[in-house]
């Protein structure tokens, strides 16, 4: 292992994709994803990466071309954000339905209107049910590591599903962070060449994506969903292997703070780092607080999550997306549905914070905690920091 190098996280992700030795990149630039694909196009242009770079005319085409190249047996990568992800929408379901192990980075950004280039999770939450494995990275090192691990997860024959690695737009993509890069030989040993299970081959013709009549469609969906459910185990296995090989350990659900903490913050993505500082300071001043970070969002690691929150009296669930007209934000909906079957349920507060790039600081987390103690948070959800005349 070499010394850490200070680098913009987008460029670290591009390096990871290069080191994963992809065959095809089909991408359309969109802020804040641009630096990733721009850097990859440079690698291809100067011969550092022997891959086909398809400069498509839209994200709809980026995902369509990715489906085609993955079906032809090429290791395929793309990246997008917000409106771009929304434009891919219908093809995202086809990628998982055809069981194609595409890897995609989503530089999470708020959806228009009004136009926002800044971070929140509204883009991926609108694509929650696409049937992809969905992972959230918390910092630059994770973004680099998980971008490589994603290929191993996706291409495992027990999975064969596309994987999406979420990294918070700007907060991660444009941040210069120290990153430990891995030697190419070690990556090659960890990630063998793509061995597709089924390919478009004129010598052995197959039809991918035929009509699924009512007698078949439900079974077809069941096959995909079961593969997604089963992938939980393989994600954990790949993370374990990563830890053993590269000495950096990742879990599906991470717990931080004292084991017996009565209150737990629940976060996804980069916000977990800020929460970590808040948890430390609150613990230092004698409060019983911890945090649980969700790294694997789909499939949701039910068992690991319930283990992590066991014994807690109160959860403060931070959502970085609004689910308009619902009782809660998407993460809180998920957790509350899970708790319904549990004999002992902690109290749940839901705070929707950081919409459209609004800063969420250590001070904010401390205030959320203080309000939860005094029962001042809205029983359903509180949109944090929203200015109001009322």
């Amino acid at each position: 292992m070499t010394k850490a190098k200070g680098l913009e996280v987008s460029l670290a992700v591009a390096e990871a994709v290069k080191q994963a030795n992809v065959d095809v990149i089909a991408a359309y630039p969109i802020t804040p994803q641009t630096h990733i694909v721009e850097e990859l196009s440079v690698y291809v242009a100067n011969g550092e990466l022997d891959a086909e770079y398809v400069p498509v005319e839209s994200e709809h085409t980026a995902m369509s071309a990715s489906v085609g190249s993955s079906a032809a047996g090429a290791r395929t990568y793309t990246a997008t954000s917000a409106q771009g992800l929304a434009l891919m929408h219908e093809i995202l379901f086809i990628a998982s339905g055809l069981r194609l192990p595409i890897v995609m980075t989503v530089a999470n950004r708020a959806l228009s209107a009004p136009i926002s280039i800044w971070n929140d999770h509204g883009d991926i939450m609108a694509e929650r049910d696409i049937g992809w494995v969905q992972i959230f990275a918390e910092n630059g090192q994770e973004a680099y590591d998980l971008s490589i691990a994603a290929f191993k997860i996706a291409e495992d024959h027990r999975v064969l599903l596309p994987v999406c690695v979420n990294i918070d737009g700007f907060i991660l993509t444009h941040m210069i962070e120290p990153v430990l890069f891995i030697d190419q030989k070690k990556i090659d040993a960890f990630l063998p060449p793509f061995n597709p299970a089924l390919t478009l081959d004129p010598k052995k013709p197959v039809t991918m994506g035929p009509v699924g009549v009512p007698e078949v469609y439900a079974e077809s969906r069941k096959q995909c969903e079961q593969a997604l459910i089963n992938s939980r185990e393989i994600v954990a296995e790949v993370f374990d292997q990563w830890g053993k090989t590269f000495d950096r350990n990742y879990k599906l659900i991470e717990k931080n703070g004292p084991d017996e903490a009565k209150s737990l913050f629940i976060t996804m993505g980069s916000m977990g780092e800020t929460t970590m500082t808040a948890v430390q300071e609150l613990t230092d001043s004698g409060e019983s607080v911890g945090q649980v970070r969700i790294r694997l969002w789909r499939p949701f690691p039910k068992k690991e999550f319930l283990n992590a929150i066991a014994g807690a009296e109160e959860l403060i669930i931070i959502d970085r997306a609004l689910s308009p007209g619902s009782h809660n934000g998407p993460v809180a909906q998920e957790v509350k549905a899970l708790l319904y079957d549990e004999p002992v349920k902690p109290r749940v507060h839901n705070v929707i914070a950081g919409l459209g790039g609004r800063d969420v600081t250590v001070k904010d987390f401390k205030k959320m905690y203080a309000m939860s103690r005094k029962n001042e948070l809205d029983p359903n959800y509180t949109i944090w920091g929203v200015r109001s005349d009322a």
């Binding site: 064969l160 089924l198 994506g209 035929p210 078949v216 077809s220 096959q223």
Partner: protein, 94 residues
């Protein structure tokens, strides 16, 4: 999609792919018809108009020169009966 695709989800091909080319011939498209064509051989002049108009291409000339419909594929649309210049085909309940 062949009849073989009507199976347990575990037995479906990966991504519901079709791995045996040309197997659409095995699909019984004729299983949802309500009416089927029946030819009155007294009236039939063996002109083959029914075969030309059949959208399913399931009517072809037999050795005896008549044009029977292959009921494995016939969807019972009635176009043959409608187009027959001698009104020799009637649609009867299947």
């Amino acid at each position: 999609m062949a009849e073989s695709a009507i199976c347990a989800w575990q037995k479906l091909e990966l991504g519901t792919a079709i791995t045996t080319p040309g197997n659409s011939a095995e699909l019984r498209t004729g299983d949802w018809k309500t009416l089927r064509p029946e030819t009155d051989r007294e009236k039939c002049i063996k002109c083959g108009m029914c075969s030309i108009y059949c959208p399913e291409f399931c009517i072809s000339e037999a050795e005896d020169g008549y044009y029977p419909a292959d009921l494995f594929y016939c969807k019972g649309c009635g176009i043959c009966a409608n187009e027959c210049p001698k009104k020799a085909i009637s649609m009867i309940m299947d």
